[in-house]
């Protein structure tokens, strides 16, 4: 009994601020909905938020289709969130998930199309591995630059995001364009598509993403590599003193982060999109940052945060249809969640939370890296 209560208290201590930030975001967004209702044909409607949130909930969880849609939308966010969260653990801010995601998706699409006629047991894993390696390679670049030269990962990954978009557009146009289509795209992936486990596209990528939650958790908590990653993030000087090599750890972490982002791209490609064409959305990359922050870089936290964000995406269309509240309100809610996480003092004041942890370290990483920290390698 008391052990249960202790566990609950421990969970509350880490999760109270994110949970309350979500509640507060919904409350504030409700005002936005009410105010915006004034300008619609129906006029002022103070109960509109209740209706909208009800439809949102029904759209995300009210039916089998809804639940599957939620999970399908959550899967790449889980992996992307893990990618960003792993970086935070080492004190790195990987804004490059968008680019690594695209490279992963592209690599999976190309290899998938090449193996479209091979058996699925062979083709799907091969395409997945290609996506993972593509993302890893694209994460290795900023990691190596940071470790060797001190080039800031925030700057390099933002630039590499643009580089990825342009490079892949060129590649689709000039290297791997499939014949017979009116626009540049890769070929059909055929048998490389991820097997669908349950009707309405509950594809294999979803359990795979959940598997990675536990794999990353295991890596961070149980292995010396995870210990090195966390130590470099917490105190690079102590890491060096303890015999760790921050240069190596930084490169490794960015590579692993890119690998996770690449897998996110691959499962999205092989499970949902099916072909690569210029202009495919990479919003997963930026939502992943929000997911990692909301999940406080903890793999389990990221899992729940990704499901929440997936539910937003899955439920929003029904909300728009039933209540005419535009889908874009979701972006406002998401932005408010992050705002209240960053300004957690507001949450503490409103809900009178007394928490022992005054600073959310991931946000400290964001702030520090933006301000231009020193490379963790220091003088070597």
């Amino acid at each position: 009994m008391s052990r249960l209560r202790q566990a609950a208290r421990r969970i509350w201590r880490v999760a109270s601020i994110p949970l309350l930030a979500i509640v507060l975001a919904f409350i504030v967004a409700a005002f936005v909905i009410v105010i915006s209702s004034v300008f619609t044909s129906t006029g002022l409607d103070v109960f509109l938020p209740l209706g909208a949130y009800g439809s949102l909930l029904a759209g995300a969880f009210g039916s089998g289709t809804g639940i599957v849609n939620t999970l399908v939308a959550a899967a790449p966010l889980i992996l992307g969130g893990l990618a960003v969260g792993l970086g935070f653990k080492a004190g790195l801010f990987n804004i490059g998930v968008a680019g690594q995601f695209l490279v992963g998706a592209f690599a999976a699409a190309v290899v998938g199309a090449r193996l479209a006629d091979s058996p699925t047991v062979l083709a799907a894993p091969a395409a997945m591995v290609a996506g993972a390696l593509g993302g890893a390679a694209f994460g290795f670049i900023p990691g190596f630059l940071k470790a060797r030269t001190g080039a800031h990962e925030v700057v390099t990954t933002i630039m590499l995001n643009n580089a990825a978009v342009l490079l892949l557009t060129w590649a689709v146009n000039d290297l791997v364009r499939a014949p017979g289509f009116s626009f540049p795209r890769t070929g059909e992936i055929g048998n490389s598509a991820l097997p669908v486990l349950l009707p309405r596209n509950l594809h294999l990528g979803i359990p795979l993403a959940v598997l990675f939650v536990f794999a990353v958790r295991w890596l961070l908590d149980r292995t010396t590599i995870g210990f090195e990653i966390r130590t470099v993030g917490q105190n690079p000087n102590a890491a060096r003193y303890a015999g760790m090599r921050p240069v190596f750890v930084t490169t490794l972490t960015m590579t692993l982060s890119g690998l996770l982002a690449g897998i996110a791209g691959a499962i999205q490609m092989l499970g949902v999109i099916g072909f690569y064409a210029p202009g495919i959305t990479a919003s997963v990359g930026f939502d992943s940052i929000a997911v990692a922050l909301l999940g406080r870089s903890d793999p389990i936290g990221i899992l729940f945060a990704a499901i929440l964000f997936g539910a937003f995406r899955a439920g929003a269309p029904l909300m728009q249809i039933e209540t005419s509240v535009p889908i874009e309100i979701i972006d406002i809610i998401q932005a408010l969640v992050i705002l209240f996480l960053a300004a957690d003092l507001i949450v503490r004041r409103v809900f009178r939370v007394r928490s022992t942890k005054p600073v959310i370290s991931e946000l400290a990483t964001v702030a520090r890296t933006w301000a231009g920290g020193t490379p963790p390698g220091g003088a070597t």
Partner: protein, 512 residues
Amino acid sequence: MGDQPPVLEMRGITKRFPTGTLANDAIDLEVRPGEIHALLGENGAGKSTLMNILYGLVTPDAGEIRIDGQPVTIHDPADAIARGIGMVHQHFMLIPVLAVAENVVLGQEIVRPGGILDLGEAAARINLLAKKLGFDIDPSSKIEELSVGQQQRVEILKAIYRNARILVLDEPTAVLTPQETREIFEVLRRLRAEGASIIFISHKLDEVLEIADRITVIRRGKVVGSRRPAETNANDLAELMVGRAVSLRVDRGRSHPGASMLEVTGLRAKNDRGQDALQGIDLSVRAGEIVGIAGVAGNGQEELVEALIGLRKPTGGTIRLGGHDLTSASVDRRRDRGMAFVPADRHKYGLVLTYPLDDNLALTRYGDPPFAGGFAGIIRNFRAIAENAIRLMKEFDIRAPDPKVPAGTLSGGNQQKVVVAREFRHDLKLLVLDQPTRGLDVGSIEFIHKQVIGRRDGGAAVLLISAELDEVLDLSDRVLVMFRGRIVGTFPAEEAQREKVGLLMATGGARA
């Protein structure tokens, strides 16, 4: 002076923390005008809590504060400042990128009409104040360009600028060199002559005896005695403070040096600014021998220990340990060869403050059995990590509720014990100690010194660097003097007299 009414009275101050610790138990304290009043006690005795109550940072459960005989309630530091109380914290509250003048006026800016900051006027006032206190400081220089001693003077200026009449200094000498300590004492004496009252928190007996007019000793939250320097001595104060007789001098015993363990020849290295900090160091330490390096801070000691442990690349020379050339070996490899290192800055190198104690107690051997094993040797063994923590906490008397509390929540003395406990492994070949007892109270110092001698007698080679000349002289079997990146003198223990060594430290001998 003695019969003047007190400027500050604290009566029956009691504070119990939510964790149950009774930090202050009905403490009485009286401070008179123009008095330097020392507050002496071990780490965690309750000195800082008492002063935080005075400064409005902590609310007491019971008790009364009177200033000039009037009862006052102090809600926050702004209240305290308004009542003429100034505080210089151990960790400075300065903004490194701002100039001295900007830091001093912060929050009390002089503003010309139109909201324009008048730094010229501020600088003029600061110059005047500094002159009065007997030191020179350029109000336009940036804090980050100043030495620690100068930064501390800026903190004092800041308090005086806000018209502090009661100045609290929390362990002001903990971060200073002996020379800087002498200078700050001069400043404090001038302040006293101006009529200010100073509360001087310390656990260093000789300093307290030198500077204080009155000494109040606190042990476990209670006042256990009050003395004038003339009527007491270091042994008496130490006993009051710790609650038992303490030997202030180490009984070193006879050393039985064996074969040469560490051989350093012609070692050269640059400091962070690219200057030659080590200009050809030759030294050797034998097994079962303590070699101490005396020297004024900043003569290359820091670079020497960093080069030895592998945190700084030498630009020349060799380092050999037990016959193995380790000049360009990694930190990890040196540790495998039996090197251990207690760093001077435990927050920078020695600990990960957010980690629990058990991880910190295994930090430098995290990848070795029994702490890791299994598949590819990368699976951490939490059982071994926990057992190691429990054993070391007992052996080294590390006071913490359990091995899972973050290291950052421990007192400074206990944090240092964590580092020492971890580094004093049993298979030790060379132990490099950089300021091993800095910031510790007498009880902990005695304990650590005994441990050092125990490791020496167990056959380890010990290299000791300390800014406390007495510590070097007390512990070392051989004393080397370091000056401007060179070893300028060697003394066997029996010939190392304080004056002789001190002179060489200051001048570097004939070569200076």
